[in-house]
């Protein structure tokens, strides 16, 4: 504050403990310490992701540090006691600071300091004296008029021996200080009103218990439920289309609380619109508010950035998800194909028990998507819709699960239609995709028939026999022949059940390093010829065989089928689950909040903005003209001070000096700079 006389110098009161405390709380050092400390605390909260599931933290930090960090409240820094304490201290400190400075500043704004002594004026950085023409009153009058013309508010006082003309400008700067700092207090108070302190107390007193189990709202016990009259909260709820809710969940650390609402929210419809490019364009929910206080239900549409405010409760479009779409599915048994496919019905978030050739398993439906828009592989920036898909986990008795995503519509690759299914063992990793060729009718029948035949040992042996005649050198004995047929039959079965993986294992077991390469090739050839003739028989049976033999399309189909067989080995599922029909149900994630402190905070914000600008852009400036009758004529002493920006004030002071000098008909000017 450049040591100017209008520094808010704190009144020197008796140093009682109270005074000392006030001194400390209002001290600039504390203020700055707090500002910096808060910054650092805030940083922790951004670097360490807040309110994650606790197991994740354990995985990250190990049990020991997890414990330490939890005690320090680092998983919810901004709710931690010590953080709130810091904020509280800043509030108090600012308040005390205002309390100490306000009186001085207000006085500063009103008082013109007409009783200022000449010697204290001479101590000013900016001061100058000269001899003026005319008597004291006349000079004082002209001086006053000139200052007024310069935009100063002016007061004059006659002390008898001398007359003091005092001018003042930019007093609102001081108001700025008050506004800014009161604003801080106001904002903190508003924030506290909306904060979760009450919850914390209730928890400390054991009146509240954070629910950590994953249970539906209906089963949440009363000690984890908050009544509808809570003053402030911020929670979220997922409502499926056609569903209703009169509560929201408040996430607390690793659990949640159930917050009751005084009204019911019904979701009629949820819509997502997309840009042509496939990016989402809008999320909208048609909701109906059923409120006893309303004559009839309130119908509204809410969207992102367009919340609905009802009785001080604000309802926002926060997210969306599947609302439990119902699906019809057809499950083909892959290794017992002559089993008729079983027809299943399920819904997202539901589990289904099924008996598979590999024992009982459960299908856990995770998600359904009516469309899947992905960028084109060709990287041309285009997008492609893969149609509906279902995501589910297949869990065996041992509890091991593999996740699958199966697409309903045929996926066209190089002009040929496939059934596409992605699988992955771990949630994180990318899907590996399986492509099963589809027949002209777009069904899996032809593929499954081929597989059925390939698994039909008798049929396979027959085929091999037929070919073996060709293969065998003439006159080789029946035994060799039987062995050959036997081993080929096993090979075919191994391949069909275990995929290429099984064959490779077998080769690595049975064949010495040097010959493997060649062995594999001959195996593949054999497989192709055997399965090939099975396929040709099948085509013939279907009457799909023209006189010019197998058509190119059918040949391609066979290649794809072989690849599929090879890949099925590590598909990991005994079932091929195919979406046959669905009824899409969406759910809207609504955030519902009540923040009575909001308006207080906004008031504070307005004060803050105004205050800061006043402080920066209005400079509080004072000038004094002290006119005295000296032995040779009237003497004028001009002095001034500004609370900002010496350089700027210096130029202004110089301007004032010049006009005053002219106005008072200055003679010999003697300017002396007070060191």
């Amino acid at each position: 504050m450049a040591g100017s006389p209008n520094t808010p110098n704190t009144p020197r009161q008796r140093r009682g403990t109270g005074a000392v405390l006030v001194e400390f709380l209002g001290s600039m050092n504390l203020a700055i310490t707090l500002l910096v400390a808060l910054s650092f605390a805030a940083i922790i909260g951004t670097v360490l992701q807040q309110n994650q599931p606790y197991p994740d933290y354990v995985r990250k930090f190990g049990p020991f540090w997890f414990e330490v960090f939890e005690r320090l409240g680092l998983y919810d820094v901004y709710g931690a006691a010590w953080f709130l304490l810091l904020l509280g201290l800043l509030l108090v400190s600012t308040a005390v600071c205002v309390y100490r400075n306000a009186p001085t500043m207000l006085r500063d704004m009103r008082h013109f300091r007409l009783d200022v002594q000449e010697k204290s004026l001479r101590a000013f950085h900016q001061q100058v004296e000269w001899q003026a023409e005319g008597d004291v009153t006349a000079v004082a009058e002209r001086a006053g008029a000139t200052l007024a013309a310069q935009g100063y508010r002016v007061r004059v006082k006659d002390h008898g021996d001398r007359t003091v003309v005092a001018g003042m400008r930019g007093t609102w700067n001081r108001l700025g200080y008050l506004l800014t700092h009161v604003a801080i207090v106001v904002i903190c108070v508003g924030g506290l009103i909306d904060g979760n302190l009450p919850l914390k107390f209730a928890e400390r007193l054991g009146r509240l218990q954070v629910e950590t189990r994953d249970i539906p709202a209906a089963q949440v016990p009363p000690e984890s439920t908050l009544s509808a009259d809570s003053a402030a909260f911020r929670g979220s709820v997922r409502i499926a289309e056609g569903g209703q809710a009169d509560f929201v969940f408040l996430n607390v650390r690793d659990g949640f609380l159930l917050q009751k609402l005084p009204f019911r929210v019904e979701l009629v419809d949820f819509r997502v619109e997309h840009y042509p490019s496939g990016q989402p364009k809008s999320f909208e929910s048609d909701v109906v508010i059923h409120d006893p206080e309303l004559a009839e239900p309130l119908k509204r549409t809410i969207a992102v950035n367009h919340p609905l405010i009802h009785r001080g409760y604000a309802i926002y479009q926060a997210s969306f998800s599947d609302g439990g779409s119902r699906m019809k599915l057809r499950a083909h048994a892959l290794d017992v194909p002559n089993l008729a496919p079983l027809e299943l019905e399920g819904a997202v978030y539901q589990n289904l028990k099924v008996i598979t050739p590999r024992g009982p398993m459960s299908i856990e439906f995770i998600d359904f998507k009516p469309y899947n828009v992905f960028p084109d592989e060709d990287g041309g920036g285009g997008f492609r819709n893969y149609g509906p898909s279902v995501v589910f986990k297949l869990r065996n008795e041992a509890g091991e699960a593999i996740e699958y995503v199966n697409y309903m519509m045929p996926v066209i690759q190089e002009g040929r239609p496939y059934f596409m299914s992605g699988m992955r063992a771990l949630p994180g990793e990318p899907y590996r995709y399986l492509y099963l060729p589809l027949d002209a009718a777009g069904s899996l029948d032809r593929f499954m028939t081929l597989r059925r035949n390939a698994l039909d040992a008798a049929r396979v042996r027959e085929t091999i026999n037929a070919q073996a005649d060709g293969l065998m050198p003439a006159g080789s004995d029946a035994e060799t022949r039987a062995n050959l047929v036997g081993s080929i039959t096993r090979l075919v079965e191994m391949f069909t059940r275990g995929g290429m993986g099984a064959v490779v294992d077998q080769v690595e077991k049975a064949v010495p390093e040097a010959e493997r390469q060649q062995a594999m090739e001959s195996y593949v050839m054999v497989l192709q010829s055997v399965l090939g003739s099975l396929y040709v028989d099948q085509l013939r049976a279907d009457g799909a065989l023209g006189e010019q033999g197998v058509s190119d399309a059918d040949a391609k189909f066979f290649e794809d089928a072989l690849e599929a067989f090879a890949a099925l080995g590590n598909y990991g599922s005994p079932l091929l689950v195919q979406l046959s029909d669905f009824e899409h149900v969406e759910a809207s994630g609504l955030q519902i909040t009540r923040a009575p402190g909001k308006d207080i905070v906004y008031l504070g914000c307005v004060m803050l903005m105004a205050g800061v600008f006043f402080m920066f852009y209005l400079h509080h400036r004072r000038v004094w003209v002290s006119v005295t009758a000296g032995e040779h004529g009237t003497r004028v002493l001009l002095a001034g001070s500004g609370n900002r920006d010496r350089a700027e004030f210096a130029t202004e002071f110089e301007g004032v000096r010049r006009v005053l000098a002219v106005a008072t008909g200055a003679e010999a000017m003697t300017q002396q700079e007070a060191g």
Binding site: M1, Y78, K281, K598, V662
Partner: protein, 389 residues
């Protein structure tokens, strides 16, 4: 000093501000008014209430800028005319961008922005040259280049705005919605801020330092363009379809601009502080007093606007996320930046700190700010998911 008669006149009887306006000022006023009325008459049918208010609001701002800072007049005119020219050349079809010579090489948003980048880099070089060669002419060239660069950047944004609507009416939006666009905004605003202080202090000595930070941002911009094709106009995700964005983001960047400027002057301060007074170098470099002064002014301006921006952000958050404060990383870092400069201002204004420590602090401040503005999007997840690299 001699006391001239006209000095006496406005010295002894100080006229009200509007009496002190000259003919040119009134001309400017008329021009702005005409412009706004034209826009209203022409487009009011397409505007909703909010946009009409914004239009009405721009009039006094442009007016005040032109009155308070004369150089703003030719600048505003140039930006307006060239933007209109470009939009006219497009005449409703995006394809012309490649067909028309002027668009392709000068006035399509992408070319304009490339021009801005080139000009800013040249300006930086020129300022350093003039510093080393003590060439006043080079200095004037540097200033001119900076003005042109700022103009091209602004034009680029205006035209990009139009182009987004040419892509599709529902795609169209003000170009302050992703990192690429705000980097242009940053360069332009910082450039203008510097030019203001250059005019105010009649000294180009600070230019080399101020323009360096702009060139840095230009470098990032170019990397971002060529490495990530960031310049392609993307439609707005729902969260960004809000009026608040239109005012929140630009306000924020006045803040960032001010802080960046202050930091560069801080560096200058530390350097000037090393050269011995009275040496040849001391004569070329800005004075410590001036640097300290402008550093404070830049931070004060930045802080004031940053305060407003943060408040606007809170109001937007209240509408989009359901709470005026969610301790989302971006929000929180804004608070950190704000608290940091609040502390800085206190040190200077109440403890009267000056010089080296404040210079260092201003420089550190820029790192904090940069993290708030880039780092958060890159390293921290949060609700401000847009604008990720």
């Amino acid at each position: 000093m001699s006391v001239t008669s006209e000095f006496l006149r406005d010295g002894l009887t100080r006229k009200a501000w509007w009496q002190r306006l000259g003919l040119w000022d009134w001309g400017w006023g008329a021009l702005v008014l005409a412009g706004v009325l034209f826009a209203y008459a022409r487009y009011s049918a397409l505007m909703d209430g909010f946009e009409i208010i914004i239009l009405a609001g721009t009039a006094p701002v442009v007016l005040a800028l032109g009155w308070g800072w004369k150089a703003m007049r030719p600048y505003t005119l140039a930006v307006a005319l060239l933007s209109l020219a470009s939009i006219g050349l497009y005449g409703g079809e995006l394809a012309r961008g490649d067909a028309n010579f002027f668009l392709k090489y000068l006035l399509s948003s992408q070319s304009a922005i490339m021009w801005m980048s080139a000009l800013f880099v040249m300006a930086t070089a020129a300022y350093w040259l003039s510093l080393f060669m003590r060439s006043d002419f080079t200095g004037r060239v540097a200033t001119a280049l900076t003005w042109c660069a700022s103009a091209m950047g602004f034009i680029g944004l205006m035209v990009r705005w139009r182009e987004s609507y040419l892509i599709g009416p529902d795609v169209g939006h003000i170009p302050v919605s992703n990192l690429y666009e705000v980097f242009i905004l940053f360069a332009v605003i910082t450039g203008l801020m510097y030019l203001y202080y250059e005019g105010r202090y009649r000294s180009r000595a600070m230019g080399a330092f101020a323009l360096t930070v702009i060139s840095a941002s230009v470098a990032f911009l170019l990397w971002y363009t060529f490495e990530r094709q960031a310049h392609e106009i993307q439609p707005l995700v729902p969260a960004l379809q809000s009026y608040w964005m239109k005012i929140h983001v630009p306000t924020n960047f006045v803040g960032y601009g001010g802080f960046a400027l202050a930091a560069m002057l801080g560096i200058a301060y530390l350097i000037v502080d090393r050269v011995k007074p009275g040496s040849a170098w001391a004569a070329r470099l800005p004075t410590l007093g001036q640097l300290d002064d402008v550093m404070y002014k830049a931070i004060a301006l930045g802080f004031a606007f940053f305060t407003v921006a943060t408040v606007l952000g809170a109001m937007w958050a209240a509408e989009a996320w359901g709470g005026y404060w969610s301790w989302d990383p971006k929000e929180t870092w804004a608070l950190i930046v704000w608290l940091n400069y609040a502390a800085w201002l206190h040190m200077r204004l109440t403890k009267g700190w000056r010089g080296r420590p404040m210079a260092w602090w201003a420089i550190i401040g820029l790192f904090v700010t940069t993290f708030a503005f880039l780092g958060v999007n890159m390293f921290l997840s949060g609700l401000h998911s847009y604008g990720t690299l």
